[in-house]
């Protein structure tokens, strides 16, 4: 088994499929509900398959922070500029193969948007580095 992180972005993704990048507050309430229910379905499905590790959503509000030097407060840079890549949340999964990870990501990306049509949202798929060299057998 191998772990993968499926990342959803608020922005900073490749060019969206035309007609799918309408902000969510411009959808109908029913479309929002259908979308959120689908997210729940994806998680249930992963749990059912024994592949689910974690899912978290992130607030779009945040800042960059770094060490400011001895005795000085942390230095901050933010809020994030409009052009910056912005992560919206993630699902961590533990699956048999990269193919299966891509399949799960594609399923997540098929979440319904305006008009109930699939959003085709880009999902960033990142393999976890393991702690140890893998021992097979």
């Amino acid at each position: 088994m191998a772990k993968y992180l499926l990342l959803k972005h608020y922005r900073g993704i490749p060019e969206p499929v035309p007609g799918t990048d309408v902000p969510m507050d411009r959808w109908t309430p029913e479309e929002v509900t259908a979308h959120m229910e689908f997210m729940g379905t994806v998680i249930d499905d992963l749990k059912e398959r024994g592949e689910f590790v974690d899912a978290q959503a992130l607030s779009p509000r945040g800042e960059f922070v770094r060490y400011g030097g001895e005795g000085r407060p942390p230095v901050t840079d933010g809020p994030f500029a409009e052009t910056k890549d912005l992560i919206a949340g993630w699902m961590a999964i533990d699956v048999e193969s990269q193919d299966r990870a891509y399949e799960a990501a594609a399923y997540l990306s098929s979440a319904p948007g305006p008009g109930g049509r699939p959003l085709h949202e880009w999902i960033e798929v990142r393999p976890f580095l393991t702690d140890d060299a893998e021992v097979t057998g």
Partner: protein, 400 residues
């Protein structure tokens, strides 16, 4: 794939109830809290090992646990210091009666909610030492690894061990911690219940124990009433899919009327003592909401009077000021409420949501949609974020 559930052993629940009681006995005998808590945990583990064997369960489980925990406590102290060991007198006491039981609960709660502890530490320690939950259960409830929670509890015990205790009972501090436990369960939504620990119910159970211990404390009764009044609406607060349903749109037939009746009776007795505090005032507001058959029938002038009272009790509390502004919006019109909202600092939680709500009531749907979207941006939970996004969508749809 999952294993068949193991049938509950008859004494599983007993152990959970007995753990805190036994700890109370040890602490009352003069054992220091941190060492006693470890000793009780060890005794509970030993009980799990031994009582499972045929004929292994003792006829007096509590007496058994007290004996074993006390022995473990003495062993721990002996190994820690032979000098202090000599100061410990083995005492054999009769099992405590109900009064002592209530005193013990207060004693334990005041240690677990000591003001030297951070809120998160006090909550964790309370749930384990007084609530009788395992570290694993507390960890699951707060979505952190078990080792992290074990460490948090262990550090909390060290902090408490270094504090001096006089009279048992800073009741105020205990109330604050129980309120936090409840809120944690309340905002957790339905997913918070999935892993078997219902923090809201747990907070109510512990607050009941506290009220038994300090029956004359009006604020303890006020807190219990407040928690019951909020808990009574829980089933109506979310849809099957986990979406939030605001108070004015809830199906009121799904409210727990027995809980509301109990809370109102509690509150009336508390208010009659004429020792008003913030929990009683908040409970009075919740009771007015729960008392209305429909949202339109809410007695907003009286709600506002209670917010005025709360504002006097907790001046400069921006959350109170924001809620009061919404009540003003219902009594004097949405624009009057909006003026108060906009005068509050921008970083007051839910300020945009309140402004959106009042704009909508004032008929300015474009402004309402804009503020709901802003509110969604700063929401602190997924459920709240989804709810506010949906509100924005709904208002935008209405404005066409």
């Amino acid at each position: 794939m999952s294993e068949p559930p193991r049938p509950d052993r008859a004494w599983d629940g007993t152990l959970r109830d007995l753990g805190p009681q036994v700890l109370g006995v040890l602490v009352r005998r003069g054992a220091d809290f941190a060492t006693a808590e470890d000793a009780v945990q060890e005794a509970l583990l030993e009980a799990v090992r031994r009582w499972d064997a045929p004929g292994g369960a003792p006829s007096d489980p509590k007496g058994w646990l007290v004996t074993v925990a006390w022995r473990k406590f003495v062993d721990a102290r002996r190994s820690a210091s032979s000098r202090t060991q000599r100061e410990i007198r083995m005492t054999l006491e009769p099992p405590p009666g109900p009064t002592e039981q209530a005193d013990d609960t207060l004693l334990l709660l005041s240690r677990c909610c000591h003001p030297a502890l951070s809120p998160a530490s006090a909550v964790a320690l309370t749930l384990r030492a007084v609530g009788g939950l395992t570290t694993a259960q507390v960890a699951r409830a707060f979505l952190v690894p078990e080792a992290t929670m074990a460490q948090r509890i262990s550090r909390a015990k060290k902090t408490v061990a270094g504090e001096r205790f006089g009279e048992p009972g800073d009741v105020r501090a205990v109330l604050r911690v129980l309120y936090l436990v409840f809120n944690e369960g309340f905002t957790g939504g339905p997913t918070g219940r999935a892993d078997g620990v219902d923090l809201a119910a747990e907070a109510i159970r512990l607050t009941r124990q506290l009220v038994d211990a300090v029956p004359d404390d009006a604020e303890a009764a006020g807190l219990l009433a407040l928690l019951l009044l909020h808990h009574a609406r829980r089933d109506a607060r979310t849809t099957a899919a986990g979406e939030l349903v605001p108070l004015d749109r809830q199906d009121r037939s799904r409210w727990d009327t027995a809980a509301i009746a109990e809370a109102v009776a509690l509150l009336q007795r508390a208010l009659a003592r004429d020792r008003l505090g913030p929990y009683q005032a908040q409970a009075a507001i919740a009771a007015l909401h729960d008392d209305a058959a429909t949202a339109e029938e809410t007695d907003w002038p009286q709600v506002l009077e209670w917010y005025d009272e709360l504002d006097r009790l907790e001046p400069r509390n921006p959350v109170v000021a924001l809620n009061r502004a919404v009540a003003v919006g219902h009594v004097d019109g949405p624009l009057a409420g909006l003026r108060l909202v906009e005068a509050l600092p921008a970083d007051v939680p839910r300020r945009d949501a309140a402004a959106a709500y009042l704009h909508e009531r004032a008929g300015d749907l474009a402004a309402a949609a804009r503020r709901y979207a802003l509110a969604a941006d700063v929401a602190t939970s997924t459920a709240e974020r989804t709810h506010l996004t949906t509100q924005a969508a709904r208002v935008r749809q209405q404005s066409g």
